[in-house]
Structures are given as structure tokens and as C-alpha cells.
Amino acid sequence: MTELALLLSLTVLAMVAVAGTLATRRALLWRIGGAAKVDWAAGLLALPRRYLVDVHHIVGRDAYAARMHALAAGGLIVGSALALLGLVPALGDIRLFWWLTALAFAAAFAGGAMVGRRRYPRRPARLSGGRFQLLPFLLAAYAGGGFLVALDASLGGALWPLGCAGLAFAAVGGLGLALQIDRGPMRHAFAGAAHLVAHPRPGRFAGERATALAPLALDTPRLGAAMPEDFAFNRLIGFDACIQCGRCEVACPAFAAGQPLNPKRLIQDLAASLQPHASNATYAGSPYPNARPVAGVGGPGLPIVGIGAMIHPDTLWSCTTCRACVEECPMMIEHVDAIIDLRRFQTLELGAVPPRAALPLMELRYADEPSGRPLAARTDFAAGLPLPLMATRGGADILLWLGEGAYELRYGRTLRALVSLLHKAKVDFAVLGAEERDCGDLARRLGDEAGFQRLARANIETLSRYRFARILTADPHALHALRNEYKDFGGAYEVVHHTAFLDELAATGRLELGALSEARVTYHDPCYLGRYNGEVDAPRRLLDRLGIARLEMERSGKRSMCCGGGGGAPVSDIEGERRIPDIRMAQAMATGAGIVAVACPQCSAMLEGVTGERPAVHDIAELVLMAVERADAAPARTAEGVA
């Protein structure tokens, strides 16, 4: 072992000591967070799989980033570990060992070079600057220096002048990296690992969608999150895990529309609040678009939201809860949960909902309907169509949940199509009629957990009085609430979306479909069906049965873009530069489709609201009814001809 190699090993040891101290200091800050149930043993055991499979799956969507990270992180960890092992005399004297170490550092150097190539000469807008711009140089110095020292050691000290220079580089780069561990880019390494172990939604790694919001106990002294300590400790770890890659801001519909929300910045503001006497000044990524001015100060015991704090309330209310940021996050951070926790405090404790959102919440409280309309009028859309009532039938095979869209004239046409199809397929179904209350989705997303829980309990009580096998609904928001969020209040139901149900009817031959051959159709995935519930195949299968040309938008399936209608965003109505549905409609038009197929009353309303020359908007149920009527018409004509 050369003396230079020994010094490299000691440098790595010093690095580990510095990084360990700083990381521990940061980790101690997490203790201010609230308690959370975490299965540490299972999490630790699952860590390699979560990292190598689940995280890689997301990172791998950007092949360059995946290769870059594999080389830089893999090379850095292996090279440093080997250099440390070199302190063991039996190993340190083997030349081949140092040759392997040099190889690992070479890989890390290549990764560092890729980091540099991505950031220089022009840094993409989604990546943060500041300390992050220093990262490629530190990586290159440490890895390059390490490589030279190890190479020199593998040759028995033949290259000692180069080795000396290498050691200097390695020391500077290595300590530079280690000093970044608590607040700089390297924080994601240890916080990310801890986040994967103690993830608040472990189901996400077990193949579940795990998208239901956690219920809030309404007797807790402070409802929702006002200060950093109101978040559970594993949520705080999650904020620290952010590497500021900016994939969330690219996916965020509110960001695209110029509303003052940037998920990356939000998570950074939350992470910054953890530090006593915190300020948001070091953030060097893209700002909140059209940012409303805030003081930008915070810390433990200080409020997070407010003009005099870190985050402006308009930022919170811009979110459509579409989960696109969560879907894109390679560190698997739960942005939407954080926003809902903050909203809960604003709504339940301060009553600080956006002015236009106060009225729907009030009407929900006293009339169980956000617009204060009579519950009995929900079935008015079906005038002239037989609509069996649960109250008179006592039970049915299928309970048809109508949802809020039923009151709306445009969506009433969709529901009429669905009801007609159910009659044609001779489905045994019934509706609750005046007994159906709002499902509570709007209240819950606006942070009114008390209102949601009251509605959920009342609906569960109503549903318990009737006999049915499955609930059918055309509203993905109701589907998500009934299927995933009522469980916590004792309501477990098999809920099926109308696209899946119609697909089932067509597959079993209960619906005869004709061909809509001339139509070019693109399908817009509702967030609450695709991303929240993973149902992206059934609607496409159903569309393909209609014999149409199906075109895909650039963003589709689980990575689809929101229409702007979720999370109470239409009633919060935060001003931006563009409208989200206009952006989405432009994406639909880019496919050259003549029809945008939708499967949600919110999407239908938002996309129908786009003005100017644009494709027609039809719910899949309407398209299926057209196809069924075409199939009916064809044999009827031949029958007449024979007669």
C-alpha cells in the first residue's frame, strides 16, 4: 500500500466523519415532528428493493438521468467503500484491489461528467442552480482524484506525482461533498434512504396505488399542520429527501398555467422551515409563477403559511390534487398529502378558505350539496327514462351512484346515455335518488375534514340499508371516495367505474357494439381514475371495441395531465396566466383527434369550457351509446328489407 493510498483512505474516513456528524445534526431536527407508525424492520429490509426497483423505475423514465445517477452514486459509494477497506492491511497490499478501486472512481468520474454536461453550458429550467451548480466540480474532483491515487497504488507508486495531485483534488472534492450533506444537494442521499425506509405510504412499494388521504381525528388539539412540528416525523424526512430535480414542476398543471404553485419550491420551503431561524433565501430553482410576496422566514414553532411566513395561501389553493408531482417524484415524496395537511389547518382552525370556496362548504353543511340544490332534483336529468329507486326496490345488483355531475345539463346527457345502456343490457340497477348526498370529495380536498367525515358517515348509513353487489359510478372522484376513503369509516364497497363496467358488458356480449369507423378519438385520463386508481386500460379497451382510430396524447395514462377541475380548484379560482383546460385541450388538438373522450364530470365540464375551434368532448358512455345505436340500426334495416 502506498502512502498516498493510505492518505486517501484517511480522507474518506474524515469525509464519513464529517458527513455523519452533519447528517446526525439534521436528523435530530426530524424529531420535532409528530409520531407515526413505522415498521422499521420491514422498511430496512425492503430498502434495497425500494431503491433499486421502485425508485429506479421512476428515475429510468429519463434514461440519461438514470445512467448518470447509476455511475455517479454507484461509483462514489463503491469507490469510497473500497478506499476505506484499503485500511485493512491484507487488502491494502493487493494491487488488483486498488485497480478495482480506480475503476469505481472512474465510473464516478464519468457520472460527475454527465452531471456537468447536463448543467453546463446551459442549465435546464427545471434544475436548481446555486450549490447544485458546484456539484459536478466536487464530484469530478473527488472521483478524479480518487482515481489517480488508486491508479498510482495499483501500479505500486509508479505515478506518484499524479497521485499527489489526485490526493489534493480528492481531499478538496470529498470534503466539499461531505459539507453539502445537511443543506446541499447531498442531503437527498441520506434523507432519501431514510425516507424510503420510513415512507408514510409503504403500500406504494407493494404494488398498491395507496392514494387515499389519511383521516384526521377531529378531537386532536390542533387540526392540520400549521408549523413544521405538526407534520409526522417521516413527512419531514420526506421533505428533506428532495433532490430538486424539478420533474414535479414540469408535470404540475398549476405551474404550467402560471398559478403561484411550484411543487419543488413548496417542498423546499417546507424543508427549510425545519431549521431554526429559517429563510427561503438559498433556494435557487424556478420560483412560484407570479409569486405573491411573502416574508420567507420560518422555523420550528413558527407558522408555515401566511404573508409573514414561508408559503402564501394562494400557493396552497392552486393545487388541483392531481398527484402528477407525486407520480413523477423519484424520491417518492407525497406533495399532495402535505398540501392537504396545510389546507386542513387553514380551513378547520382559521376558516381561511378562499372566498368563493366558503359558500359551497356552507351549503354542504346544511343541504348536503355544494350548490344548495334539492337532493331530489339529482334525478331530474333522467326525465322520461325509467330510473329505479333503491327506496322502492330495497336492493339491486348494481347501485348507480350519480354524483354531483347529475345536476349539470351537459353531464346529464352522459348519465342519460349510461342509464340507456344499462337498460339495453338489462342490468338490474337502482339509484338512491333523494337519499344520495354529496360524497364529500370537495369538502375533503378543501381541507374541511369535519364536513367530509359527516357526509361519509351519513352516506355509509344510507348504503347500509340496501342490498347490492357493486356500486357503479361515472364520477371518478366519487369512485375514489367510496372505494378508498370510506374504508376508514366502516364502508367497504366494491366500486366500479362506468368505463370498466361497460367494457365488461361488451366483453360478455350483453352490449352489441357497432363501429364508429370515421372517428379519430383521443382519451383524456381523469386523474382520480388513472393516477389515483390505476385504471387506464379498461377505458382504452372499451374505446378500441368501438372500432375507432385511438390516438394518444403525449401525456396519457398514469402520467396524464389534469383538466384543472380537481381539488376544489374551480371554486378556489386562483388567478394565473392561462387556464389549465386550455393547455390540456391544446395537447388533445395536437394529436389531430376530432373527439376528446372523457370519463369524468369534472373533465367534461372543464374541457367543454374551452372556447374556440376545438375537438368535440364526449364521455365514453356517449360514444358507446352511439355505437350500440349503430349496431341496432344495421340489423333493423335488413329486417325491414326482408319483410
Binding site: L218, R222, L223, T347, L348, E349, L350, G351, A352, V353, P355, A357, A358, L359, L361, M362, R365, Y366, A367, D368, E369, G372, R373, P374, L375, D448, E449, A450, G451
Partner: protein, 255 residues
């Protein structure tokens, strides 16, 4: 400034469920804009969802428990007289009960206080013990008055919306239940109850062949009661005008 806000047992106009009366919550909003010393007062058998007023920012609610058929006026008058309030705020009319809007007048008479109707904004006056009231008049007109306190003021639905409901504030707020004096309501004339049906608006017809502008004018101005607008008239002139108007309506013996 000590303010009492009268809260009545209302019903949601569509669902028919017990609910606070929106205009009374607006009165509460105006009160909280003036002072922190605001007390809610309700006389009736059950507090029900009036608790929710606490969620709209009311710090304290006094419930004068009484029977449903009791007259609320004596109990409220006693509580208001002993409470030493500078200002009593009420809604223009209840919602879902008799909705006659007479209770504030009956209270003002019982307390011997002046009453000003249909406030949409309140502000403390320049002189101590005075209040600036912005009053809503027909067709969007506003009138600013300065009144001497104590007084009873009713609030118009055009007043600003109340602070949104906060569940935790409703949970924290205090309801103080006191026994209200039992007083049988004076016998009412027998009346008939019918579901409310909005009356069709009477639209004046413009003559045949009238221009679009004339028809629009006829349609939009039909609701106006006519009369003359006098700006800052002398008291004598104003009194003369009122007498003349009453005479024209046949309400005063002609001279």
C-alpha cells in the same frame, strides 16, 4: 364597544334543515369588524346549529332556554337591558320561521332604543358614542347615517359575507345556557300556511311599435315606485313632501 348579535333558529331554504340565518351571520361579520366584545343571543328551546356561529368568529353565545311557544321578546329585552350593550344587531328577517322581521322593532320598543334598518356597513363615528351606518336602499342606493348609541340596527343581505366557518373555532367557543323568563306569546290572528311561491315580476309593456330601447326601459324600470328624489332637502320641505305623498295614497285626511 359591547355588541349583541341576535341569532334566530333558521332553516335552510332548500333542505329545510335547521341552519343559521345567513343575514344574521353577516351581522356577526359586521360586529366583529367593529369590536371584539361580541355576544350572540338566542332565545328558544334548542341551540342546534346556531353553535356554528361560534365557528364564524363569535366568541360567546348566550342561549336563553325557553319553550317553543314562548314570546322571545321579554327574555331578550331583559338580557339586553342587563348586558349593557352599546349596539344590538339583528338580521333583516329570519329564515324558515315567521320571518316577519318584526322582532327587532318589538325589542327596540321594549328597550326604548332607536332602530335603523338595512345596514350594509358599520364604522365607529368621529364623536365617541356614535356609529356610522351605511344603509341599503332600493335599487342599490346607499345612505350614510350617523347615529347615537345605544341603538338597534338590522342588517341587509347586501352586507359583506361573514368570515368562513372554522370547525375548531366552533369546537372551542362557549355556549352559556340561561333560563329565559317564560312569557306566553300574545294570541296571534289565525293564519294560513302555504309553501312560498315567488311572485312573477310585473313588467310594464311598452306601447306597440316601441323601439328596443323603450322596451328595455319599460322592462327594467317597472319595479320603480316612482316619486321624486330630493337631495339634502330642508326638514320643512321633506316633511311637506312626505305628507303630500301620504295624502296622495289616501292615508291622511285631505285638507
Amino acid at each position: 364597544m359591547r355588541i349583541a348579535v341576535l341569532l334566530s333558529a333558521g332553516r335552510h331554504p332548500v333542505s329545510g334543515r335547521p341552519a343559521p340565518v345567513p343575514v344574521e351571520l353577516q351581522a356577526l361579520g359586521l360586529a366583529l369588524g367593529l369590536s371584539d366584545e361580541v355576544t350572540g343571543l338566542h332565545a328558544g328551546p334548542d341551540i342546534g346549529p346556531l353553535r356554528d356561529a361560534l365557528g364564524h368568529g363569535l366568541p360567546r353565545l348566550i342561549h336563553l332556554a325557553s319553550e317553543a311557544e314562548d314570546d322571545p321578546v321579554p327574555g331578550l329585552a331583559a338580557a339586553l337591558a342587563s348586558g349593557g350593550f352599546d349596539l344590538v344587531l339583528a338580521g333583516r328577517a329570519g329564515q324558515g320561521g315567521e320571518d316577519s322581521g318584526l322582532l327587532p322593532y318589538a325589542l327596540a320598543r321594549a328597550l326604548g332604543l332607536p332602530i335603523v334598518a338595512d345596514a350594509v356597513a358599520l364604522a365607529p363615528g368621529a364623536a365617541p358614542g356614535t356609529l356610522i351606518v351605511e344603509q341599503a336602499l332600493a335599487r342599490g342606493a346607499r345612505r350614510r347615517l350617523v347615529i347615537r348609541l345605544p341603538a338597534v340596527v338590522t342588517v341587509h343581505p347586501a352586507a359583506p359575507a361573514p368570515a368562513p366557518f372554522a370547525f375548531a373555532a366552533a369546537r372551542r367557543g362557549i355556549v352559556d345556557v340561561q333560563a329565559g323568563p317564560s312569557a306566553a306569546e300574545p294570541a296571534r290572528p289565525a293564519s294560513e300556511e302555504r309553501p312560498y311561491r315567488p311572485r312573477p315580476k310585473l313588467i310594464a309593456r311598452a306601447g306597440a311599435g316601441a323601439s328596443a330601447a323603450e322596451r328595455l326601459k319599460a322592462a327594467t324600470e317597472s319595479a320603480s315606485g316612482g316619486g321624486r328624489l330630493l337631495v339634502a332637502p330642508s326638514p320643512e320641505e321633506a316633511a311637506g313632501e312626505i305628507l303630500q305623498h301620504l295624502r296622495a295614497l289616501g292615508l291622511l285626511p285631505g285638507r
